[in-house]
Symmetry: C2
Subunit: 345 residues, 2 copies
Amino acid sequence: MDLQRTETYQEIISQTIAWEEAINVVRQTTPAFHTQWQSGHITNAIFTGCGSTYYLSLSAASFFQEMTGIPSRAVPAGELYLYPQANIPDRERTMLVAISRSGGTSETVAAVQRFQRQGSGIVVVISNYPDSPLAQLGDHAILIPAGREKSVAQTRSFASMYLAVTAFTAGLVNRNDLVDEMAGLPALGNRSINNYHDTAREIGENLDIDRFYFLGSGDRYGLACEASLKMKEMTLTHSEPFHFLEFRHGPMAMVTPSSQIVGLLSETRRTHEKAVLDEMHTLGARILSLGESETMVNFDSRLPEEIRNVLYLPVLQLLACSRSVAKGLNPDQPAHLNAVVSLDL
Amino acid sequence: MDLQRTETYQEIISQTIAWEEAINVVRQTTPAFHTQWQSGHITNAIFTGCGSTYYLSLSAASFFQEMTGIPSRAVPAGELYLYPQANIPDRERTMLVAISRSGGTSETVAAVQRFQRQGSGIVVVISNYPDSPLAQLGDHAILIPAGREKSVAQTRSFASMYLAVTAFTAGLVNRNDLVDEMAGLPALGNRSINNYHDTAREIGENLDIDRFYFLGSGDRYGLACEASLKMKEMTLTHSEPFHFLEFRHGPMAMVTPSSQIVGLLSETRRTHEKAVLDEMHTLGARILSLGESETMVNFDSRLPEEIRNVLYLPVLQLLACSRSVAKGLNPDQPAHLNAVVSLDL
C-alpha cells in the first residue's frame, strides 16, 4: 500500500482546512452563546467523549479550568452514563461539553440525555456532523463539517474539534486576542507538516522500535493519550501515554533500546520535563522531543503556549500512519474497529 | 527463584494483617479529625500521589464524591506541583489528601508544601511511615506501619492505604455501620487468597500470554490501573488499564489470542461490563473475571459493594508475582526502579 494513497494520509496533510473552519465557526457562533454563558452561573464544567474525544476532553478540561478558574474535569461518556453520582457534582450548575466526531456515539448521546433529564445544567456539543443526534440535543452546538473523514481513526476531525474547544474557551472569557492569534495556526501547521514530514516517516518506518511511550503534562496530557491511541489503532504497536513525572513511578521499568519515547514538551516547565527524557535516554531509549524551540521538532510559532498545542498533532499522526503502511497494514481500517460505536444502552 | 521465598509473595499473602491495622487506625483517629472536618466547610477534595498512590487516588476520589457529594478528583502529585492552576480550584476550600507509602516522595512533598503556602485548605496524609516528612506536614495523618514492605513494588502497602481511605471516608459521613462491616474484610481476604492462589499462579505462569488489559469502571478504575502497573513492574509485560466501555473505542484493536483481559466487575453495572468481556472473548482474547459472584474469581463477601473493592487486589498481585518468577525475573527488584523517587524540585 502506498502511504500517499491512503485516506488517512490525505486527511492528515489537508487538515489545516478544517482548522480554519473550526476557528471561523467558533468566531461566528460563540457571541450568541455568550449571553447564556454569562447568565448561567456555571459552577463547574465536565468535558466528555469516548476514545479520542475523551482524550480531547482531558486536554480541554485542563485548559478550561486554567482560563476560567471554574473547576473542570474530563469523564469518559461511558463512565458518565454508568456512574453519574461519582462524576456530576450535586447542587452545582454544570456545563457539560459533549464531543463526538459522528455526533452519534451511543454512550455520549445516552449520557447527555440522562444529564438533561436530571436538569443538571447546560449542554454544549462539538461535532463534525450538523445533522447528528447530539447536534440536536445541545443548548449550543459547534459544528465543523470540514473535519469529516473517511478513515476510522480520527486525525483531522480531532484537531478541528480540539481547536474549536480552545477558541470557544478563549471567547467565553473575552480573550478574543487569543482567538485572533489562532488564525495563524493553519499556516504554521502546514509549515510543520512540510518541515517534519520526513522526520515522522523516518521514525514511523523504523520497525526496530517495538513500543512507544508518549509523555505530556498539563494541557498536553490528553494529546499524548491521543497520539498513543493512533499508534495502537493504525499500527497495532504497544503504546502508552503518561504524565511526564509519572513515568518515573513504575512505567520506566519497561524501557529498552527498542523503546521510542515521545515528549510533548512545554516551554514553562520544560526543565522538569526534559529531565525525564534525558534520564530515559541514559537508560537506552530513543527520544523524540516536540516543542516550540530547542527540540527535535520545533514549531517556531511565537504564539502563546496555551493556544498552540494543536501543532503537536500532525507530526505524530504522520508517524503512526507511515508506520502502519511500513508494517503492511491499512491505516484507514484498524483491526476490529468501526467509525461509530453503537451499543444498546 | 522460588516464588514462596520472594519478599513480594510473603508481603502479598500476609497483607490482611495490614488491612486490620488500617481499619483500626482509622477507627481510632477519625473522631479527632471529625470536628475539624465539620467546621471546615470543604467545597472540594483532591487526592494525590505518584504511581501506585495516584491510582489509589483515582479510586478514592470516585468513592469520596459518591459518599460525600463533594466534587473530588485525583491528580498525580507531579501535575499538582507543575500545574496547580489547572488542578486546584480557585476560591474554594479544598481538602488535599496526600498518599505516599514512604511519605517521602519528592513531588508529593513539594505539592503539599506549595498547597500549604497558598493557604488553600486542609491536608490529610496517608502513609506507612510515621516518621516521614509528609506525616509531619499533614493537619491529620493516617499512619499504618503494618503496611511497610521490603519490595519496591507496592502490594500490601497499597491495600492498607486503600482500606484506610475507604474507612476514613465512611467515618466522615457518619457511616460507622460500613466501617464496622469492613472488619470482616481480613478474613474474606485470607479466604480469597487460599481459594484463588492456584488460579492466579496458573494464569501468571502461562507465558503464552503476551499482553494484559485490566478493565474497571467507577471506583474500580484506579484498581485496574494498579493491577496493570504491578504487571509492568514485576513482569515487564505490556499491560494497560481501561474503563470498561472505553476499551471498545480504539484499544480493542490490540486484542489477539495471546491477550489476557481481566475484568473487575461490579454488581450494579455488570450487564454493561460483562458485555465488553463477552465481545473480547469472541475476538479470541482470554478472559478472567472477578466479582462478588458468578465470576471466575468470586468474593462471596455479602458486603456492600462500596466497601469490598480491596478484595480484587490479592489475586491480581499474586498473578503478577508468579508471572515474574516464571519469567526468571525477581519480583522484589523491578528493572530501573527504586522504592522512593527523589527529585530536586
